[in-house]
């Protein structure tokens, strides 16, 4: 293999690597209100997948009072949205009241909060840039 091929191969490998699974998305939840239950979180790649409810990855972490941190691994570059809830009673469901309002804590990436309704996708977008090893996003927990 000559030098040129080596470089090309390296670049090609690098691109493949970037285009498949490379980066981490670090998520920080500002304020979980108890140690009970767990946090169920999903990450979506792009608006269509968010709206059709097809997550790229899901994670379950034990809830702890105060700030909580976890990460989604091996995400390719692109636009993401995270949604999560605090399953305080461990029934694996986001409980709601009779009118569909969540009665357990919930939140979205980029600290998106709805105003008289759910937040908009564009407000929860977090971008993983090409070549980046990680991206950070914060979630404001709404109880």
């Amino acid at each position: 293999m000559n030098i040129k091929n080596l470089i090309n191969t390296t670049i090609a490998l690098g691109l493949i690597s970037l285009n498949t699974y490379a980066a981490n998305l670090n998520v920080t939840i500002d304020n979980v209100n108890s140690n009970d239950g767990k946090i169920l979180a999903q990450v979506f790649k792009g608006e269509d997948k968010y709206k059709t409810g097809k997550p790229e990855s899901s994670i379950i972490v034990p809830a702890k009072k105060g700030e909580n941190n976890f990460l989604f691994q091996n995400l390719s570059a692109g636009e993401y949205a995270v949604r999560l809830f605090h399953d305080i009673n461990d029934n694996n469901d986001l409980d709601t009241n009779v009118f569909g309002m969540p009665t357990e804590g919930y939140g979205f990436s980029n600290q998106a909060v709805g105003n008289f309704g759910p937040p908009k996708y564009k407000d929860m977008v977090v971008v993983i840039s090409k070549g980046a090893e990680s991206a950070d996003t914060k979630v404001k927990m709404i109880y």
Binding site: N97, V98, F99, G100, M101, T103, V113, G114, N115, F116
Partner: protein
Amino acid sequence: MNRREFIQSLAVLGITASHLPTALLANNNKTWKQKYDAAIKSDPRLIGHQNYTQERQAESLVIEGEFPKDFSGTFYRNGPALLERDGVRQKHLFDGDGMIHAFKFENGKVSFINKFVQTHKYKKEQKAERFLYDFSGLGLKNTESVSSADSINMANTNVLPVGNEIWALWEAGSAYGMHPETLETKGTITLNAQLKGAPFSAHPKIDADGTIWNFGLDYASGQVIIYKLNSKGGMQKFGIVKTDYHAMLHDFLITDKHILLVLPSLKVNPKGKGFAAQQQFDENRSMRVLVVDKSDFSLKATHEFPACFLFHFGNAWEEKDGTIRFDGCRYPNLEVLHRMENIMQGDTYLMKDTISQTVIFTIYPDGKTKQEAFAGSAEFPRIYPSLTGKRNEKVFTIGDTKDAQWADSIRSMSIESGKIDQYVYGEDYLVEEHVLVEKPEQKSGYLIGTALNWKKQQTCVSLFDAENIKSGPLARAWLPFHIPLGFHGNFKVV
């Protein structure tokens, strides 16, 4: 005044077109607060809507006359008090943070305490020393999002003794539980997990057996939740009634068999800035009465009346043949709601459309309907509590004999004969809701209520013989200061 007037349609009322006060138009570059501050200098009656932040206590109020020794209990009232923060004045009277006022009667003496309801909104804004939620176009910067109705719950409309607590009520979110003596806020009332954060109106109705009925409208879906609670506030049952109504729904009624959801002729303009501004009168929309079965919450019938608006109802009952009758304080349109923005900026310009009058609505078994209006202005209707859902002869209201801005008088009126028993406080007084404290023998008792004397800048609480109002108060207790004009209250007998 004693003549009973029969009015078949609203057209007979001769509704006048509303018109904008010119003074306001010329004054548009001033802030809401500047306008109010300027106006109160020339019209001291506006003290009733002044920003109020003082939590106070007063022992042994100065008493005129004599409170009966056996008259014992606490008169609770609620209303918007905190109207300004950081130089910003709320636009609508409904947007002030709720304050509970408690007058305690014991051995002929009267004491007083008042406290803010420590709502999520109040606590957060108190800490920030500014308004954080801009839901009515105040033009605030760095605001917080409104993620649920309870995030802006002001708990400012009514207060109801329930079991060992008092509940401060709003209409779009949860009730707040408070200690009946100290007025310390305990937190939101969650009746069960499915009802957390659900709307719980400010006008519960209580059956003779103590059962508490209430409703709450989910504006988005148009679904109305019906609550049936025991006398201690424990959930017995709830159900949903589906409607296509999404606008303001303030009050409701019960009979012995049914729940009446009365949907006034309102529609929503989503472009309006704030809840009140979004509410629009729709003269082409009938007022509808949904008759809901108390036993299973099923919708039995829907009846229509000519377009009108009402905040409040006195009572409903059913006759043996199934005829339903109820009374309410009817407005020809919704100007009264929008006028509360004018008052908040100190404009006391008067419009005839903001006068309400007692109307008896009748629904016959064949579905035909009738309205009968009674002369004189009337609002805040109350009845003897034991007659809720049963035939009542009298309805007790406040009203004004001179102009329509503030009430100056109280009255009872026989809805059978039209006979009126009235007491006029006089022009120095801004009269608030008066409620009945029934004697055990029923259909007799006391009428109690507050009034703000704007000349003295003091609020008084007065007790009347409910069967002889015209003789004037049996006794009156004076606070050494004034409290803001509020909305509704209730008396807890001890």
